[in-house]
Amino acid sequence: MAPAHVSLREVTRVFPAPGGRDAVHALGPVDLDLRQGEFFAIVGPSGCGKSTLLDLIAGLAAATAGTVSFEGREIRGEVPDGIGVVLQEDACFPWLTVADNIAFGLREAGAPRKEVTRRTGDALALMGLGDFANSYPAQLSGGMRQRVCIARTLVMQPRLVLLDEPFGALDQQTRLLMGDELLRLWRETGATVLLITHALDEAAMLADRIGVMSARPGTLLDIVETRWPRERSSRIVADPSFGEITGRLWTVLREESLKSIGAGERR
């Protein structure tokens, strides 16, 4: 088997508490290997440390113990080259046009002007934003703005894309369609994708494998294989095994979700 694209070993994150209160044990220990090119989703109850896990892989935060490595190199304190991150909130820069938002990272990286123009044009076309190149984010809908953020990440040609509840602020229909879009991009770019979500159906529809996390401190309880073909779309929500997968996720998660809302003892 090929070496893992991302690998986490005994990763723990503890937030030190100011003022002598108890430190918060947010995550871990977690062991996880992401395979090259797979679509991996992580679901878990709210507050279970899903986003913390993403921060650790993105290099936005450092693990308290254990190691996180990407393509065989340990991640420490900085976002490594080749990793793209899409956040849940609207991260568009409101003072830049759509095209300038997308080109921002390339310009920061000092890419030649011609290449910036070409790659930005490609990303605009890929995300169906061509007509909005000169619009400002304020003129776009929430779904369109999230496409800008995705385009802005993909234009950097990341080998690993981390998505932190990217569709959390969108309505259900838009989410399904954005899911289709994400699947298409995943197939076309060949990148490894890690999607953090609280939506079981989203995870079941999109991912090859789904990691289920426990209530805080978050650990991996189970990894569910969906066995979907690589060519797939939101139509699989009508597939009988879609319900089966969602059901299996919920069976594991129900108890944990109860714990996370402080009702664990009631069953």
């Binding site: 993105a58 936005l60 900085e78 976002v79 793209g84 991150v85 956040l87 909130e89 609207d90 991260a91 820069f93 409101p94 003072w95 830049l96 921002f104 990272g105 920061e108 400002y136 984010p137 304020a138 003129q139």
Partner: protein, 250 residues
């Protein structure tokens, strides 16, 4: 033009016409104030003769120096203080009460420190302007959402680049408010200081004309200062509106 804008112009024109009539029929006597049409004529003559060109240049140069120094250092200090929570929390109440202090009261001290040249006047203009810039810079930086800061980290930007390319552009509408206030305060500071401690400049010329009952110079100069300050302020307001419209505000 909006209906409000038309009304606004009507109010100003109406006031001018009223003043003109009151001056013409003698309700306002000539030694107090010449009619507006006469002031306009005097202004035209004054501008054509170039007699005030030196005073205007001197005042506008000093306003520009105080203004630019206040904007540059105010933004830099704002960014710096925003990063130092403890210092900022110590200074915040002082900023809040700063404009309760009449800066002009310091003018004897400033003359002792900086002599009789332009420097104390520029310092007064600067002192009045800089705090408005600092306060509005802090205000704007406070409103930068955490997600944009995370985005800057994802792009591996250091603190200076983050400030220049993310947080300051994001805070631009608030910065512009500070810039507008800085300009107004720089004008007030410089012209006021010229009244008190200068032998040149538009403020001095107004006060000199006043002491000599020279209404043909005093009123045109007052009108000129109002016109200059209003024109610059309107330009900045225009810029501000364009900036806000782009971000989806009306």
């Amino acid at each position: 033009m909006t209906r409000q804008a038309r009304y606004r112009i009507a109010v100003i024109v109406g006031a001018l016409v009223l003043l003109e009539v009151l001056c013409r029929i003698g309700t306002i006597d000539r030694l107090t104030m010449p009619p507006p049409s006469r002031i306009a004529l005097d202004l035209w003559v004054m501008l054509r003769s170039g007699s005030m060109a030196g005073a205007m240049l001197k005042t506008l140069t000093n306003v520009a120096i105080a203004f630019i120094a206040a904007v540059l250092s105010g933004v830099a200090l704002g960014v710096f203080l925003h990063g130092l929570r403890a210092v900022r929390e110590t200074l915040d109440p002082l900023f809040a009460t700063y404009y309760a202090i009449p800066v002009f009261a310091f003018y004897p001290l400033l003359i002792i420190l900086f002599g009789l040249g332009d420097t104390p006047q520029i310092v007064i203009g600067y002192m009045l302007a800089v705090v408005a810039v600092i306060v509005n810079t802090l205000n704007g930086l406070d409103r930068v959402t955490p997600v944009l800061l995370r985005t800057a980290r994802i792009y591996r930007m250091g603190p200076v680049k983050t400030a220049l390319k993310v947080t300051l552009p994001c805070a631009a509408p608030h910065l512009l408010t500070g810039v507008k206030l800085a300009l107004a305060y720089a004008f007030i500071g410089i012209v006021g200081a010229e009244f008190l401690m200068s032998q040149t400049g538009m403020g001095f010329e107004i006060s000199f004309a006043y002491n000599n009952f020279d209404n043909a110079v005093m009123y045109p100069l007052i009108v000129l200062i109002i016109a200059l300050a209003t024109a610059i302020n309107m330009t900045l307001t225009h810029l501000e509106k364009a900036l806000l419209r782009r971000r989806g505000y009306q």
